[in-house]
Amino acid sequence: MTPGPSRPEKPTKPSDVRRDVDDELEFHVETLADKHERLGVPREEARRLAATEFGNRQDATEACVDIDQTRLEHERRSAWVDHLVRDVAYGVRRLRQSPTFTLITILTLALGIGPMIAIFSLLNSVLLRPLPFPDASRLVVVRETFPLPHGSPGLGSVSYPNYLDWKAQNSTLDLSAAGYPTNANLQDASGPERLAIAAIDSSVLPTLGIQPALGRNFLPGECRANGPAVVIVSDAFWRRRFNADAAVLSRTLVLDDVAQTIVGVMPPDVTYPSRGAAIDVWRPLQVPADPSTRGSHFLFVLGRVKPGQTAEHAAADLKHIAARLEQLYPGPQEKRGVALTSYAEYLVGRTRPQLFVLMGAAGFVLLIAAANAASLLLARAGMRERDVAVLAALGASRARIAQQFLVESLLLSAAGAAVGLILAGFAVRGVVALVGGTLPRGTIIHDDWRVIAFIGGTIVVTTLLFGIVPALRAGRSNAQQSLRDGGRGSTGGRERTSFRHALVVAQFALSLVLLAGAGLLMRTLVALLSTNTGMSTAHVLTMRLPVPLGSPRYPTPTDVVARFYEPMLAGVRAIPGVERAGLINLLPLQESGSNGNFDVVGRTYASVAEQPFAEFRVVSPGYFAALRIPVMHGRDVAGSDVATSQPVVLINDVAAGQLFPHEAAVGRELAFGAVGPTNPPVTIVGVVGSVRQARIESAPAAELYFPTGQAGRVLANMSLVVRVAGDPIAMTRAIETAIRTVDRFQPVFGVFTMADVVDQSIADRELYFGLLGAFAAIALILAMAGIYGVIAYSVTQRTKEFGIRLALGSDLGQVQRMVVWEGGRLALVGLAIGVPAAYLLSGVLSAVLYGVTAADPLTFATVAGLLALVSLVASYLPARRVMRVDPIVAMRAE
């Protein structure tokens, strides 16, 4: 070997550095020793002389090792960055060379990543983002429990005397009370507007742990009956109506005819006590502390567990107080207790499982998309084998080649995520605009660092999902063989094909699960929509008419009926095209109810729990006719049922069946509380058909209908129900005009057709079905594209084989059937795995299904059949290409 340097060797470990330096210096010392030895010095002596002559070897070694280690560290770092920069540049160049592949892969990944981002964005805002209150985990909702005829006790609102007793007697909680959100009419220069308003006492803001952004909280002295007319406005309302003017304090708003002084502005995003819908204005809770109202439950009570206490202590504390109240007030408090729920759980508890199911479904879509991307990448890897072989021959390590492939995959998933983010943005905005109010906290969607971190994580996971197998395969491929056979027909190709087949199988299994879920929800919606609700909803318009009952305009219920409702109804009925019109305080299919216990006169009850229980409604003449609810016995309510006439009530046929199974109901009397001169019994004058009150899927309960002429406070919030001959929406303007003719300050809001009201009652299921259905559709398209790609690739690869078969006399149909069967077989295996998987997983939906079981064989068979059909079509399209194969050309093909 000639003297001189050979191939550079780079030490990579610290121990190598020290050994190298030592070797280098040892060479010098040895060479010096050689020189002395040549002059006749014995070897041992020569070594000693050389060592002395060389000088301080220890210091020199340490200095060199130090310098080298620093240098290597630096080189390693810059080499890594260098490689990455080079791989990114190379990846971008390669991707631009095959724009079709790149575009299809990016779109595939966008369809996979987009749903994931959209659902996470919703899930983050609804579930993960902390409530906008400090130490929110200490907040608890305190509700009264009451006995229900069957099953576990109900959870209900709190009466004011009970709230005051709890607040004064407990030592574990700071309590606050609020009224449920209602509406108020704002009158100003720009016309009447309906505002969402809630009453809160002065403890609410301290309990939440917040302060007004501007101005002050309500004072305790303002939260009493006949207190001053002051309000706090929301941040959004302040910006919308007052352009965020700080001089808003002490200005006035005219709400329900009364001027209210603005004393504060709430911080942004506060919707308390509403779950999700915005509140515009808060007013002080001004309720008389009247001990006789202990049985009147209408407050929402929120507590903050005191420092050093736990929710368990607080629950025990309140239960103790409730037990004492039950003894003290056996009438109104009989069998009533108290229950605590964490505020966060109260807000989102029902939504959490649905969002998790959707997240899982989006994950399936991502898996299916990643399978397609991996399949595309593998097909391309076949064409790139020569490139890889050249790289390997040039000395690139397997790890470097794999890294290069992974960087390319990373670029694809980052681009896919970017496109997916745009899709997700549209989807989320759409969902919020359509049904934001049905999601708790759903009207305030904020994308924060969690969403950004999630997108980053999704990109990495996606890259690994679809990129790792192609990358490892590229790193492993046999360079020499690929160069020799030009990248065709190598064993790697066959392995790749079987892996792609496995991907198709997985895609079909996952798609089946999603389609089965969507199918079950679709059958649920069909069942809901075809359920007989007990009324006819076509051609019916509804609207809400909150009137300022108690204001100078309408001081008493009698005034509002005589001066507003009766002339208004007469005016509406006079409009050409209007057939019937009536009023009810709560439209059917509303989750909220109004109900209570009562007695049948002449019967005795051992306890409250044995008393009959029913929904209470107030209706005007014309209501039943407008919804075509039949009056089965007796008569309808009439204009002659007034405060001074005999008190009357109608009952529905469910109530009639429960109360009077073997006798006539009409003519019997009901009592509400102790009967006396001021509380006479009420006579049943009619029986009407039953309607679905709360939800379509809940069978009708017993229901009592009182006439408007004999009703009280509820007359402040009635809904108008109008049956028309033609299109209900087209009548809106004429009806509003008729209303304003009677009272020009009367706002009208919540204008919906009765069909819309039905739709709203199933909006949560529609959202669920809409999202799951969209995911299933994406899955179906992706699975179709996946099987098409694999079969098309296989047809291209097997052109020669087909040529031989055709030349040997196989007929075209036979060959095509073979190709179609290749795809069909994969789909069948996928379905065989997917059906049991769907059977196991669809159980998570059972809580929202109606009219169909989670294991519905018809749904499963239908979606399996659909997928089988799709697989045959997707395989047949490439199979048709076999027709164009010319046996001679095909056999020459390499």
């Binding site: 060797e9 070797d23 060479t31 010096l32 050689d34 002559e53 301080n56 200095a63």
Partner: protein, 113 residues
């Protein structure tokens, strides 16, 4: 002036090494031998001190190193100039010549009043 031994000043050693390597690839022992011959053995430098200088110059990218086989058939580390090293040699040499000429001029100047 009789020849005396000269200490290698800090910073000067780099220039001498660059000059030595401008002839081609050499290991540390050869570099020292060449420097001693070139200075008629008047250079006073401890052998061990050469190596940290070589490694520092390698880290600065002026020279590169590779393992090879020496004339006495031992494994030795050979150094070679990089393009940066060649440039540095040219610049440093020019600046030294200029500096030396300047100092020489000052020292040979006669005092006039």
């Amino acid at each position: 002036m009789p020849p005396t031994d000269v200490d290698v000043r800090q910073g000067t050693l780099d220039l001498l090494v660059l000059k030595a390597l401008s002839r081609g690839s050499m290991h540390g022992y050869d570099i020292l031998e060449w420097l001693r011959r070139a200075t008629a053995d008047q250079l006073r430098l401890e052998d061990a001190a050469l190596y940290p200088a070589l490694h520092r110059m390698e880290a600065r990218g002026l020279i590169t190193a590779a393992w090879g086989v020496s004339a006495n058939n031992r494994r030795a580390r050979f150094y070679r100039l990089t393009p940066d090293g060649q440039k540095a040699l040219k610049e440093e040499a020019a600046s030294w010549r200029q500096y030396a000429a300047l100092v020489a001029k000052v020292l040979s100047a006669t005092h006039r009043s």
